[in-house]
Structure formats: C-alpha cells, structure tokens
C-alpha cells in the first residue's frame, strides 16, 4: 500500500484507502487454516503479524460480528469433533461400568483407568487454554473493538464456555447419556476415596482438573457461587465424605479405644486439610472440616468421653496425651468443651468424695468418744487419746490427699488442656464442690490443723522454698473453702495454742502465713490474727519491763518469783478456747486462790500494769499458765536402797503449782482430801481432777500419793506428798493439760458450729443493716441476694438465716415492712 506522504503535492489516485474492499470469505479461509494449525501445534510457521493484520482489517471493515461468529463456530466444531472424540477414546469400559456399579474390576484397575481419563481431560483443557490464548491474541483487535463496543464476552471467555458445553456437558458415550462432568466428579471422588484407604494418587492431576472446574461457571453470568467446582463437585464431595466418616466413626467406636479414636480422628482432620491444599481447593477446607468434625466429633463426643477407655480412664492412668487429644477434638466443635468439662468435673468430685470418705472412715475407725462429764471434754483414757490422734492424722492425710488430687489435675490442666481458662474455672468449682460438700463439714478445721501440724513439726529442717511451697499449698486449699469465717475460728484457736504454749517452730513462718492469707483473703480476715501477734510482742515487753521494775524496788528477795506474762486482748483471742470469760457469761470460771507468795507478785503486776494502762481490767487465766517449781525430796530409803536427798525442777501447770504449794504447809505424813484442796484453791472441778490425775496417777510424775490408789479421782480421795519420788532427770515436765491441737470431737464440733452460727447471725444482721442504710427501701429478693453477695468472701449464708435475721431486725425496729407493695419489701428506719 502506498499512502501519500504529507509533503507530497500531487495526490495519488484515490483507491480504496487502506486496501481495497477485502474479501471476507477468502481472508477467513486464511485465518481458519491458521487456527487449525494452532490447534495442531504448528503455530511457529505462522506469522502473527499477518493474522493480526487480517483480523484487524476485517474488524476495520465492520465485519467484526461475522468474524466473531465464524470463530465461535470454528471452535465449536473443533471441540465437538476432534477433542470430544479423543476424550471418549480414553473411557475404558471398566471405568464406565464402575460409574454404575462397583465390582468386576480391582481398585488398582479403576485407579489406572481413572487417571488415564483425568490425564486426557487435563491435556485437552490445557491445550484448549493455550490455543485460545493464542487465538485471542491474534483476535486482539476484535476483542478490543467489536466485543467491547457490542458488550459480548471476549472470544477467550466464549471459547471456555464452549469447552464446558461441548465437552463437559456432552454425553459420556453414545450409549451412556450422563454428562462427562458427572463422570469426572465420580472419578475424582473415587480417587480421593482410594487415598483415604491408603493408596497413593496423583494429586497434581486431580488438582488440575479441579482448577478447570473452578475456572468454569455453571451459568453464563459467571457469578461467584456458580462455579462448576461448587455446583457439580463440592457438594457431592461433602456428601460422600459425610457418609464415609459417619461409617468410620461407627467402626472406630466399635473397634478401638478412645485414645486411638482421638488419634485417628485428628489424623483424618489433618488429612482433609492437606487434601484441600494439595488436591482440591482451600476454599473447601472449612466446609469439609465441618463435615468431618460433625461426624467424627460432634455426634460422637459424648459417647467417646464416656467410653470405658474415655476421659475417666485417661485421668486415672495419666494418659495426658490422650486427654490433650480429646480436649483438642472437643474444642474444635464446642468452644465451651462441655463434654470433656463435664467428665473432668465428675471425676474430680468422685475422687474428692473418695478422699472425704477415707477421712471420715479413718476418723470413725476409733470408738466414738464417751460423753464427758464436764465442760472440758478431755480424753479420759489412752484409747480415746489415741483415737483423737488418729483423727488428727486423718485430717492431715485428707489435706495431703486433696493436694495430691489438685496436683494431678493441675498437671492435666497444664499439659493436656493447654491451660484453658474455662476448664480451670470448672475444675476449681468441682474442687470447691467436694471440699465444701454438705456431707463433709470438716474441711476448714482440717486445713487449719494441717497448717498447725506443719508449724509445730513439719517445717523443721526444711528450706525456705520448701516451706513456701507448703504455705502455698495451704493457701490453695483455703481458696476453695466457702466458710472462711469457720476457718478463721479454727485458725485462731490453733494459733492461740501455738503462741501461748510456744509450740511454733518459727515466728517468721507464722507471719509469712498471715501475710499470704492477707493477700488471699484481705485485711479484714487477718486483722485479729495480727493483733494476736502484737499482743505477744507487747507481752514480752511487759515481762521484761516488769522485771526491771521489780529489780528497781531494791527489795532483794532471794525467794522472789519470776513472772513471765502474756496479756491477751479479750476481743482478739478466742476466749472460749482458752477458758477465759466469754463476752456474755462473765466470770463463768471461779477465781483461783493463789498462795500468798504468788498472790503478792500478781498484785505487783496488776499495779504495774494499771499504771501503764489505766482503765484496763486484767483477768487471770491460771488454766493456761505453767510454773517451774523447785522441789526437794527428803532422804528416805528408796526401793533400790539408795538414801539421799533429791532435787528436781518440776515444770507444772499453774494449777498444779497451786496444789503443790499446799503441801509446803503440811507437816510430813499428813494428807489433804480432794474436797479440802478444792475448797482452799477454788480450782474448777474438772481442772482439779485433771491436775490431780497427772500429779498422783500418771506413773512417771507421781509427786503425790493418792489413797485409795485408783485411776479415778473421787471427792473423798486423800493425797500425800510422795517423799520417795524418784526420777532419772533433774527437770521433769508434768504434762497435764492436754494441749495439742487435735480434731474436735463431734460434741466440740457442734459447739464450734453453734458459736460460728451465732457470730454469723451478727455478721448477717450487720450486712443487712449496712445495705438498708444505703438503699432505704428494697425488695425482699434483692435484699437477700445482696446480702449473700456482700458476705461472699466470708461464707455462704442460708437464706433461712437471712430471713430470720430480717424478722429480728423488724422486731428491733431497724426495719419495717412496706405495706401494699406488689412484692414484699422493707424500709430502713433511721
């Protein structure tokens, strides 16, 4: 073509500009022949420029639509002719037969036949794509001008749709009317099933076919959810998978134990994940995951957990891995993990109840204590003493057992449950359940006893870290205890004994314990305990201060008695425990008559004390004190024939000291009767009996001789000074007051509970008044629930108790009922 250049003056003769009217048919013949070459992979002979130019000219001459139609027709012919028949050649008879019924061919034959088909299809699809991409490049100008201007899909897209219609939607064979697409799905599913059964399949091959399905749409709108993969394959895949896994779950439950089930289920889940990645599409992952999880876990988890080899078995045999597996499975289908949680909780309560029952059984193995005649309720015989020791041991064992249980489940929680918060809460609740169980009311006492035991003996020779671990254990248990007030009561009682009797190994550890409780339970809880320690410190200062004071008097009396004193604040210390006057029944205990020398120093101290703290009243508690007495036994003939004077230092209770001093006044050989002692000293009957028992009955400390000689003490008994007393040591401890902290007898326990209930009444009333003062008016239900929540840290009050206290407060005109309200409510009376 010779187009005129701009500068030329003489215009060339007008010809059809840019070539003559082109002959469409002959041009198309050229293009068609070239396309055939492209499809048969002979493109390298063709000139791209030439083909492009032909197509360009056709479009420029407004023949774009004709060209488009021709190309489409050409492709249709090509696909339905060449391609379709080449694919049908791949369909071996057994592949077709299998599509309808299984049998007649081996799995391997089927796999090979399937692969052959898939390969052929993949090849055809790949070729089609490559060729169409070349064609589309040749027809670029048609796409750009004709397709865009006329809003028709690009020739490439059209050709892909043609592949779907002419190949995938075509009949499988002349005889078989099912579309090829169904066969394709079926073959892929079969291959996957073979892989599930352990065969090795060509994943890439399947993935290529899957990509083809994903690239094509079922409709011509090309909407997202209408991909052939989703429409014709995915649902089938999910359905067959569901059937398969349902069956597998059945047989696995039948044939394997729970641990094995978990392992296989997890393996299956991972396999499906891998399969989506390597063989199918990742978009299917969540869907198949759901199917597998529903069939293998959700529908089976209850059965699985409750299997004989289920959670209970795993716990009992420390199968931490399996527990982790089952937890993991449960977590997949249930964020609350309720089945595993339920099983764990059940097992905790079961094991905890066993521990409780063991403790009860151990404490009941001993004969029940005989009802005591007096208020002291001290054991009267060895057997009883022993049984109480047994119970104490049971108490300590209970604590240890609970801690072992706790350790066990902590390990499970940490190693198997990934420190799951929900499970921790559930497990804590279960521990609290059995520890606070109504059938086992002694946990507070036992925990306090456990601490007591450790404070007195357990921590001896242990390192700081070990001690800290012990303290921490106690705190852990304490956390579970609901009735914190009851624990406080016991702890005070036990602490009191430890302090006054000097039983504690380390004051430091005691204080550490207190500060731990403070962190755990708050200031209120430890205030009184701390006050007890303060009293002890103040008492030491008082003792030394008084000693100095006495020395300052100048009166150097060689027989002066040394006084060590503990001044206890009555509100702080558990007076009922130490036998002092309670708040209500003052002077319940008669005042003891001290010998003059003792009386003198007692007065001296009272004077000294009242100078320091005016207005305070001191009450003496001789039942709690001890005295060191120097005793001289005269030269009398001993059983072994020796004949000399013996001096002993006797460490006795204050009462025993008072009794012994009576014999100082007595001429040798004389006696005093029980009644005389009682009259002169005013020692309470029970205390007197016990002290005389240890002075005159206990074989090693028989400083007095009783007549008649018997174990029982009777009012008419006569007592003599035992001049022939003999002992191997200079210092002799006359153990009288049974002073160890032991489990309470049932009777004591009832008393403690009664006292506790009494003090609870006050606490509840105080809480009610506090709430009402603030709210002025409140409905009954609200008041009850608020009261409970206020007291949550201390104990859980019975609703009946709250009701009763409300009644009392109304009686005492703190509150009144609001009349005419729909719900019953109360008003605060200022």
């Amino acid at each position: 073509m010779i187009a005129g250049r701009g500068r030329q003056r003489i215009r060339p003769p007008r010809r059809g500009l840019h070539g003559d009217e082109i002959d469409f048919e002959s041009t198309w013949d050229i293009i068609q022949a070239a396309f055939r070459e492209i499809h048969t992979k002979n493109a390298s002979r063709l000139s791209y420029e030439e083909l492009y130019r032909h197509a360009y000219r056709i479009v420029l001459k407004k023949k774009g639509e004709d060209l488009y139609k021709k190309v489409k027709e050409f492709e249709k012919q090509w696909l339905s002719g060449e391609v379709r028949s080449s694919i049908q050649l791949l369909l071996s008879p057994n592949l077709l037969a299998d599509a309808q019924s299984v049998g007649g061919t081996t799995a391997n034959e089927r796999r090979v036949a399937g692969e052959k088909f898939l390969k052929g299809l993949k090849q055809a699809w790949g070729d089609h794509q490559v060729c169409m991409s070349m064609l589309a490049d040749v027809l670029m100008y048609m796409d750009r001008v004709y397709c865009q201007d006329h809003r028709v899909p690009s020739i490439y897209t059209t050709a892909m749709v043609l592949f779907r219609d002419e190949i995938l939607h075509s009949r499988t064979s002349a005889k078989d009317s099912r579309p090829l697409l169904d066969l394709l799905s079926h073959v892929i599913l079969e291959q996957i099933q073979m892989e599930r059964d352990g065969d090795v399949i060509d994943k890439h091959l399947i993935k290529s076919c899957v990509h083809m399905l994903d690239g094509l749409h079922a409709d011509d709108l090309e909407s997202e959810n209408q991909r052939l993969y989703n429409v014709s394959f995915e649902q089938d895949y999910l359905n067959t998978s569901r059937v398969f896994y349902r069956g597998e779950a059945e047989s696995m439950l039948r044939e394997s134990d729970a641990g094995e089930y978990c392992r296989r289920a997890r393996k299956r889940i991972h396999e499906e994940e891998d399969r989506c990645r390597a063989t199918l599409l990742e978009s299917t992952t969540p869907k198949i995951q759901k199917v597998v999880e529903e069939e293998l876990i959700q529908n089976r988890i209850k059965e699985l957990v409750e299997m004989e080899s289920g959670v209970r078995f795993m716990i009992d045999n420390d199968r931490l891995d399996e527990l982790n597996l089952i937890y993991d499975l449960n977590a997949r289908v249930d964020t609350k993990k309720s089945e595993v949680t339920r099983a764990i909780q059940k097992r905790i309560v079961e094991l905890g109840t066993e521990v409780n029952n063991d403790a009860i059984a151990a404490s009941q193995a001993a004969p029940p204590p005989a009802p005591a005649a007096d208020g002291g309720d001290k054991p009267k015989g060895q057997a009883q003493e022993k049984s109480l020791n047994l119970q104490t041991a049971a108490a300590i064992k209970w604590v240890e057992d609970v801690l072992v249980l706790k350790d066990k489940f902590d390990k499970v929680w940490r190693d198997s449950f990934q420190s799951d918060n929900l499970l921790q809460t559930a497990m804590t609740r279960s521990f609290a359940d059995f520890i606070n169980s109504a059938t086992f009311p002694r946990s507070s006492e036992y925990i306090s006893l456990f601490i007591d035991e450790n404070m007195k003996k357990g921590i001896k020779g242990k390192t700081e870290t070990e001690i800290d671990i012990m303290l921490e254990k106690a705190i852990i248990l304490l956390r579970y205890v609901q009735d914190k007030d009851l624990f406080e009561r016991y702890y005070k009682k036990h602490l009191c004994r430890r302090l006054l009797m000097n039983k504690s190994i380390s004051n430091e550890v005691e204080k550490q314990m207190i500060s731990k409780m403070k962190m755990e339970l708050g200031n209120n809880f430890t205030m009184k305990l701390e006050a007890m320690f303060k009293d002890m410190t103040v008492s030491e200062e008082l003792t030394s201060g008084f000693k100095k004071h006495v020395e300052g008097l100048g009166d150097r009396d060689p027989h002066r008695i040394e006084l060590a004193i503990n001044v206890l604040t009555s509100m702080t210390w558990p007076m009922d425990t130490i036998g002092g006057p309670g708040d209500n029944d003052e002077d319940r205990r008669p005042k003891c008559n001290f010998p003059p020398a003792v009386e003198k120093i007692k007065r001296g101290f009272e004077k000294y004390y009242s100078e320091k703290h005016s207005g305070r009243q001191l009450t003496w508690l001789p039942n709690m004190g001890t005295a060191d007495v120097k005793a001289v036994f005269p030269r009398v003939l001993q059983k072994d024939g020796s004949f000399k004077e013996r001096r002993h230092e006797l460490n006795v209770s204050t009462y025993a000291m008072v009794i012994l001093l009576l014999f100082n006044e007595l001429p040798a050989g004389q006696h005093i009767t029980f009644e005389e002692i009682q009259a002169q000293t005013n020692i309470p009957h029970s205390d007197l009996v016990r002290n005389l028992q240890s002075l005159a009955v206990a074989p090693k400390t028989r400083i007095l001789v009783k007549e008649p000689m018997s174990k029982e003490i009777r009012p008419t008994d006569m007592f003599f000074f035992n001049e022939g007393f003999r002992a191997g040591f200079i210092r002799i401890k006359v153990g009288v007051v049974s002073s160890g902290n032991k489990v309470e007898s049932d009777r004591e326990r009832r008393e403690t509970e009664k006292k506790n209930d009494d003090s609870r009444s006050h606490v509840v009333e105080a809480a009610i008044v506090r709430i009402m003062k603030q709210r002025k008016e409140l409905g009954h239900q609200h008041l009850v629930s608020e009261t409970i929540s206020q007291l949550n840290g201390k104990f859980k009050p019975e609703v009946s108790l709250i009701k009763k206290r409300i009644e009392k407060l109304i009686e005492r005109e703190y509150l009144e009922r609001v009349e005419g309200g729909e719900i019953s409510s109360y008003r605060y009376l200022a």
């Binding site: 250049r5 701009g6 390298s44 791209y48």
Partner: protein, 290 residues
C-alpha cells in the same frame, strides 16, 4: 526535569541509537529497526502478543511491518524510545542511523546521548502519556467541546517556546541537523497515520500524543492543502466509534464553517461518507454521533 528522569530518558535514547541488547527486529520495507521486546511488549498489546505466543515472530525475532506505512512505523519506533516523534532532529538522524550497519562507538554514544537528549521535548510526551490514562473522550455536547479545545490548544502551545530555547541552549545540536521547525509544516496526514497505527497496535500513549499534535496543527494550518486528505485518512483508518480525530475534525468544521467551501474539501467530503454523514448531522443541529 529531574536528574533521575533525565537518566532514564537518555538511557532509552542511547538504547535506540546503539541497538544494544536488542532482541527483536522490526522490518519495514528496506528499513530494519533493532528494538527491545521488553520495552515494546510492555506498552503495546500487539507486540506483547507477538512476543508471548509461539508464532514465527517470536521464534525468528523479526516482525515484518512492511504492510504498514513506513513513515508511521518509523514514528512509532521513535516514540517507543523518545516518548515523542517528529521532533526536528528525527528524519536525518534516523535515516543516518538506519543506514549505518555498525553501532556507534561507546565513547561517542556516551558523549552524545546527553547532548541529544532534549529537555523541552520530553515535557510534551510526559503530558501525553499522563493524559493517555484518561481514555474517555466522547465529546458530544458541542459547548463543552469548545472549551476543551481551547484548553488543549493552550497546552499544546507550551512546547513551542522551550523548543526555541533549546536551539539557543544547545548550539552543538546544530552540527548534526538542519534546523527544521516541524510545527511550520502541517504534518496533518502524518499525525493521522501515526494515530491509526497507534490504534492498530494498541499503544495508548502514542494515540493520545498523535491526537494532540493533530489538534494543534489543524488549528495552526487551517489553509493547508493536506487538510482534506488528512480528514479522509482520519475517517478511514479507524473504526467509527473511535472519536479521537473525528471529534477534532468536526470541531474544526464547527468553528470554521468556511472550510466546507474549499473546493478540495468538497471533493473529499463527497468521497468520505463517514465525514459527510457527521457534517450533515452537525449542520442539522443533531448530535454528531447517534
């Protein structure tokens, strides 16, 4: 223009000069242009297709464009490396270059490249490339059209003065070329042909550039003898829906009604049904495109 852009531009120019690393040859009649696939394929859908597919061209590395107008091909190739065509140095240079078989010595090339590199000229192509992004240009409402052309004219005037500066600033250039003020000649047919080839091979930047040059020149050379043939070329070398040059031409007729009275124009209108039809629509007060 900043230093990095200069660097790139001079590198491209040097690649064109030396044919270094060339991996494709465009043949047009007797001329051979050693070019670079990466540079062409990334800007033209046609060349992309030619390089991508296993046709003869990609096997042999030769694309024969003899069927195309040689001048348009030359401008197109020049554009790929300079972002412009028909600047004053073009014809002599390229003819020298194309006749020369051996590449220039590197020393020579490196010295020449920066000199040859034309600051003012580059400004224009960059604008052209930028405006190529905005492909929507159906200018049907006549009033707006007018405004738009005013703007267009104003902006196309810009390159003129720097080009004059260029002469003063780079006296060395004078040695290699006869100063030829390209804007003095209309080149309307050339621009129309470049426009067509840019459309044919899918080079949108060049298409925009050609249209701009055409619009500018038609305004400056209303009396040119080329005008009728250029109009015919514009109407016959692209499809009807391509409004680029058509809008410019119709607009020119609208603002210069006396054009229709020219004898040579009369003949062309008779021979060019597309143009005749649109002029008729315009004269009847109808929208030019239906």
């Amino acid at each position: 223009m900043d230093a990095p852009t200069m660097e790139l531009m001079s590198a491209l120019a040097s690649m064109f000069e030396t044919g270094k690393y060339s991996d494709l040859t465009i043949v047009c009649g007797t001329k051979r242009y050693p070019v670079h696939r990466a540079l062409l394929a990334s800007r033209s859908t046609f060349f992309d297709g030619a390089c991508r597919n296993p046709f003869r061209e990609s096997e042999t590395g030769v694309i024969d464009l003899t069927e195309d107008d040689p001048e348009a091909v030359e401008h197109m190739v020049h554009y790929f490396y300079h972002l412009d065509y028909l600047n004053k140095t073009l014809s002599r240079r390229s003819s020298q270059r194309s006749s020369r078989q051996t590449p220039r010595s590197p020393r020579f090339a490196s010295r020449r490249a920066p000199k040859k590199f034309n600051l003012a000229l580059v400004e224009d192509p960059l604008l052209a490339t930028a405006s190529a992004v905005d492909t929507s240009m159906p200018l049907t409402p006549p009033t707006e059209q007018e405004n738009q052309f005013d703007n267009l004219n104003a902006s196309t005037k810009l390159p003129d003065s720097p080009m004059a500066d260029q002469l003063d600033e780079n006296p060395f250039d004078c040695m290699t070329t006869e100063p030829e003020a390209d804007t003095e000649k209309p080149h309307l047919i050339t621009h129309a042909k470049v426009y067509a080839i840019a459309e044919k091979y899918g080079i949108s930047g060049l298409k925009t550039l050609a249209r701009k040059k055409f619009a500018h020149q038609i305004e400056a050379h209303l009396g040119s003898e080329e005008l009728p043939e250029a109009c015919q070329e514009a109407y016959e070398s692209t499809v009807d829906t391509d409004r680029g040059l058509r809008d410019v031409i119709i607009q020119t007729f609208r603002s210069h009604p006396d054009l229709s009275l020219r004898k040579d124009m009369e003949m062309t209108v008779k021979e060019t049904p597309g143009l005749a039809f649109e002029l008729f629509r315009m004269a009847s007060g109808l929208p030019v495109t239906s």
